[in-house]
Symmetry: C2
Subunit: 114 residues, 2 copies
């Protein structure tokens, strides 16, 4: 018996950041490309771009800077705001998993058989 948890951020009832978005942003940061990041996530470029765009709209912040074309096929990189959001979300999640595991251990100890 284990506890699982999920955390996300909403504005006006709509998600603006979550584990999935965190992974997408890390992949964009790593590959400097929305296209490569989308491939890694197993989603289309169009979908990845629409996630980024929706987040930008909801937050009212630019999150990914893109440059067009050239021999390298363009590129993308996270803005400082996006990096800040990413690192704060990581902080939030990090402590959270430990806390929840400890609480579960304390409350459920001795109840589980498996």
């Amino acid at each position: 018996m284990v506890v699982r948890s999920k955390i996300w951020i909403e504005i006006d009832g709509k998600p603006v950041f979550s584990k999935g978005r965190e992974m997408l942003f890390r992949a964009i940061d790593e590959h400097r490309s929305i296209n490569q990041a989308a491939k890694e996530m197993g989603i289309s470029y169009r979908r990845a771009w629409s996630y980024v765009h929706a987040m930008e709209e909801r937050l009212g912040l630019k999150l990914v800077e893109t440059r067009k074309g050239g021999a390298s096929g363009g590129g993308a990189q996270l803005t400082e705001n996006a990096k800040l959001l990413l690192s704060r979300f990581e902080q939030l999640e990090h402590g959270f998993n430990k806390i929840i595991d400890n609480r579960f251990e304390k409350i459920f100890k001795g109840v589980e058989e498996s």
Copy 2:
């Protein structure tokens, strides 16, 4: 900008308790009927019963006692094990929401504009 979270319990990678199951169990406890509880949740009797059954299988514990027929159309009630599980899950969730709100406040303070 608000933080949202979800917590659930798994055995061998399969969910055995969650917010939805908690609501179903509270409804069974209140109405003393799986049928009435299912109606309140907007699901079929068959589905409600299959949730209960799957949880009993995974936990290896009887959770709902039913009695058949009669003028009142039978009835259902939670076992002591089910009540214990429900109350511990409530405890786990309760502190959790406060903790996560506080952490969010601390980490994100001053970042949000909306």
